[in-house]
Structure formats: structure tokens, C-alpha cells
Symmetry: C2
Subunit: 308 residues, 2 copies
């Protein structure tokens, strides 16, 4: 069975890790959001690709909840003493990824080639690709005007009220050809929308021209796992953003946002009451993924849902 | 008294540190070689400027003999696992200097502005400037052809036999205006050629158009400290290079190389026998600088020589 997963940051990477344990490596393709990529200190930073890479390589920093395991901070410390920009924290090990990615991109490799090289070097089985090799940059309209995504997300810690989101450059971005090929393949058995923020993790992927059409045209069921549990996001600004965009933070609102794309949405067992307000098939499951076993169990459930 | 010092790497930085203890900060200007600067991993690396900065800030790594104190190596370790280029070792703290310098250069600062900013941030009293804000790149002609300097110096550990040196771009480089201004100033009391490699540390400085003329025209005495002791270099390939270029490694050969630029050369006390072969004034002193006291004592001796 071939499985295609769409993922953003930490929540998505958790389910992707679960999937990597239950789907043979050759049959799993993970497509990552690149809308929150940015240039920082002259380096090409791809936070969602890296979150995914670290999670799948077992290198994620579970203490911090972001970044790399066994991290050291000499670079940031010294950058601070030199008066350099220190609002975006880059660990010494993490930095190697950005420096080497930037070097390879400048040497002419595509982002997906660089990603494939890194994943191979780190011994990751499944394939991961950016939604596009063309740059897409999420921007946030706040009360004070448009903000670059990382300025909003890290610099201002998601405090500004979000009025609107835009994916700069998306109209010229081409979906990664393997992304479209997987969607068109007759043996595709499931498209999994991982429990990432719909607005800033999944919708940039959906906004790449041709992706929504290809999703609608594909024969496999599209199954989302809601990132909302009891009206709250496990991590990040999803619930706050929903409120600011005029929605009641809920899995029902997530389902409504994805609309007729979805065949099935999986809600947390505690949110059974929301099922009535949702048009597509609803399944209930424990969706909070704390342990590897939680991730594997949820991944199995998603695959079972695809088969029935 | 205003003192101008010309410096390359580690040996030069030692005397510069000594001078910084005996000359008031406002009266000392140190000009650094930039011929061994290079772009690595997309970063602008200025080894001699940094050696000088670390020495003067008390941040030099005395265990390694190069780089920064309290260094960590997470970046290089990780770069290695990603398959990135690892022949040039960059510590995590050192890396911050290169990343921040590159960022500021791209933002439009000159190398001397960046350097001034760093020195101020690190609390270094005297001023240090690059010989030029324009790029000059030392190249080495070996038996196998022309090599970039760092390829020769670090990549091939100075093993290739040197036939010739060239300073790529030097014909278009303008000396730093403060360098020329100091040489023309009536209150200049000494020009000190630090004990650095004449061929790859001092001659790139001398090769910048206008520098030799300004040195000849200046009223202050020009005093060199020989980097050779008992026919050997304290550090680096100076002696090996002299042999390959057809000279007998000696302070006499260093004096001959600088020729009529010099008013005085200071040789190590053990090399008194070489004095007869030298045309300019010769002073003898212990020139091996192990401790800070050694550096200060030699600096005092240089200043005394300038006064007499």
C-alpha cells in the first residue's frame, strides 16, 4: 500500500514517525510544508523539513520540543556577544544543516535533492520531499500590517492577532513532481493529512497550483487527523488563530476548513460530541501522541480507516 | 607616540598583543593581512583578522594554537554526518564570527566596519584594520599548478613545494585609507613588521598598490622582528617556504627580503652570527614569545629601538 502524508511541524512529524513504523519505507512518501522556510543570517532554513527529518532520524529534541537532540549553543552565545541577531535560536548541530543546505542550494541542487541527501546520510527510510522546490513564503496580516512568518511565529511569539494569511510566491510554485505522481498513481491507498496547523502547515501545501485538483482527482481516501483536542492545540497557535479568524476552535472547524477534500477525519475520543457537526466520516481515537507507541497506534488506526 | 603594526597570523598577533600592553590603545593601529581570506561554506573567513582579534581579546585557543578558546565542535561533527566538507575545521564559536561577518558584509558593511564592530563588541582597545577592504587572495604555485591558499595551507598542510606566490586581485586593491593616513601622519613614531611569514603574511600587505611607496616615504623607523629563530620558524611553513624559494632559512634572508624598507631588524639573541650579513641595523633580543611577559618585553624593546 502506498501512503502519502502531508505534514507541517511537530504534530505532523509525530504521526509521520508513527507511519514510518507501520508502512514499508518504500511505500511512504511524506510531503512537507515549506511555507515557513526563510533566509536567516544568509542561510536557508526549512523548519518543517528539519522537524520531520529530526523526528524520523530519532534526533528530535524532546526536552525543548523543537530542534535537535544533544544540541549545544556555543554559536548563539558567541553571536550574542558580537551583537548579531539572536531572536531565532540556532543550535550548533542544527546550524550545520542550514549551512550545508545553503551550500548545496548555491551549488545548484534543488531543495528536494538536498533533502534526499540529508535523509540518506541520516539513514531515514521513507522519502520526504518539499511540497515544491520553488520558494513559497507564508506571510501573516496582523493589525500592524504584513509580517514575515518567522517574525510572527518566533520573533513575536504568535502574539499579533492574525487577520489573514498569504503564501507569497505560491502562484508560481510547481508542486514537486513526485507529489503529483503519487497522487495520480493507481496504487495510492491513503492520503494522510497529519495533525498540523491547517492554516500555516497544510494550506500552504494545498495552495500550490494543481494540488487541490490532484487531491480531488485521486482515488485514495483522504484522511485527516485533527490537531485540536478539547478546543486546544497540542502545540502552537492553531486554536488562537482559529479564534482570530472567526472560528470556534474545534475539530469541527478543522473539518469544515478542509471541506469536501476529506473522506474521513479522526477526532480525539473526548471530542465525540463534535461528530454531529461534521459532514465527512468521523472516527474517534486517542490523538494525543506522547510515546512512540501512541504514534504507532494512531498511524495504524489511520491506515485501517483507509482500508474500510 | 603612534605605532603602526603589520601583522599576519599567530606570531604577528603575539607581538601585537605585547604592543597593546605598552602603547596606549588610541595610539596603536594594527594592519592585518587579508590575503589568506577565503569563502568557505558560503561564509567569508578572515583567518589573520580573527587570529589577531582572538589574541587581543584574550580569546585565543592556546591549546590548539589556532582558533578560539572554550571552543566546541558540534557543528563540524554534524556537518561530517551530513557529508559536508570537513577539511577546514570551524568551531561553533568561531563560526559565529564568520556567519555574522558574512551577514554584515552582505548588508553592505565593509570588512573594516565589520572588524571595528567586532573589536568594539569584544572590548579590544586598539584599532585593527584589514590592509584593504578590497578582496586579495593569495595563491600558491606548486608543482601541480596554482592552488588557493587555504587549499595549500590547511587542505594540503603546506606539503606542496612552493614555486611562486601571487596575490590575486591585489592590483585593484586600495590600501585602507587609515593605513595610508597613519603612514603619512607626522606623529607616527614606529612601523613594526611583526614576526609573521614574510611571503604570505607581510608581502600581501606590501603588495597593495601604494603601500611600499608610503612606507618608504614615512618618517618613522620601520622595524621588523624576524620570525626565524635558529633557522626555524616558530610556527608555520616560513622556513620550508624559504628553502623552496631558494633561500637559506635565516633572519638574514628575511632582512634581505624586506631589503631597503627596513631601518632595523630584531633577531633572536642566539642568531647573533647572522648580524654581519645584514645591511640594516640589527638588534638582538629573545624573540620567542611564550608568555605574556615575553610579548610585552619584546614590544618594549621594539619601541625602544624606534626611539633610538
Amino acid at each position: 500500500m502506498t501512503v502519502l502524508a502531508l505534514s507541517g511541524g511537530v504534530g505532523g512529524a509525530k504521526l509521520a514517525l508513527g507511519l514510518s513504523h507501520v508502512v514499508p519505507a518504500a511505500d511512504l512518501l511524506i510531503v512537507a510544508n515549506t511555507g515557513d522556510d526563510f533566509d536567516h543570517l544568509g542561510l536557508s532554513v526549512s523548519p518543517d523539513l528539519d522537524t520531520l527529518m529530526y523526528a524520523l532520524a530519532g534526533l528530535d529534541n524532546q526536552t525543548l520540543g523543537w530542534g535537535r537532540r544533544d544540541e549545544t549553543w556555543s554559536f548563539m552565545e558567541t553571536l550574542g556577544t558580537l551583537g548579531g541577531p539572536s531572536w531565532f535560536r540556532l543550535g550548533d548541530r542544527d546550524l550545520a544543516v542550514h549551512v550545508e543546505r545553503t551550500r548545496r542550494l548555491r551549488a545548484g541542487e534543488t531543495l528536494s535533492q538536498v533533502t534526499a541527501g540529508f535523509w540518506q546520510a541520516l539513514g531515514i527510510g521513507p522519502r520526504g520531499i518539499p511540497m515544491s522546490d520553488d520558494p513559497v513564503r507564508t506571510r501573516v496580516l496582523s493589525e500592524t500590517g504584513w509580517l514575515d512568518f518567522q517574525d510572527y511565529f518566533v520573533g513575536q511569539q504568535c502574539k499579533p492577532v492574525v487577520r489573514e494569511l498569504a503564501f507569497h510566491g505560491v502562484e508560481h510554485a510547481r508542486p514537486h513532481p513526485d507529489f503529483l505522481a503519487a497522487l495520480a498513481a493507481p496504487d495510492l491507498e491513503a492520503v494522510v493529512i497529519c495533525p498540523s496547523n491547517p492554516f500555516i502547515s497544510i494550506e500552504p501545501i494545498l495552495a500550490v497550483p494543481g494540488v487541490r485538483d490532484a487531491l480531488r482527482a485521486c482515488n485514495a481516501p483522504i484522511i485527516a487527523v485533527s490537531p485540536i483536542i478539547a478546543g486546544q492545540a497540542v502545540k502552537g497557535p492553531t486554536a488562537k488563530m482559529m479564534q482570530e479568524l472567526g472560528m470556534i476552535p474545534s475539530s469541527a472547524a478543522v473539518a469544515a476548513r478542509y471541506g469536501d477534500l476529506l473522506d474521513t477525519i479522526i477526532l480525539d475520543s473526548g471530542d465525540a460530541a463534535e461528530a454531529d457537526a461534521i459532514d465527512c466520516r468521523v472516527l474517534l481515537a486517542p490523538t494525543l501522541m506522547k510515546t512512540l507507541d501512541d504514534k504507532i497506534a494512531l498511524a495504524r488506526l489511520v491506515l485501517d480507516a483507509a482500508r474500510t
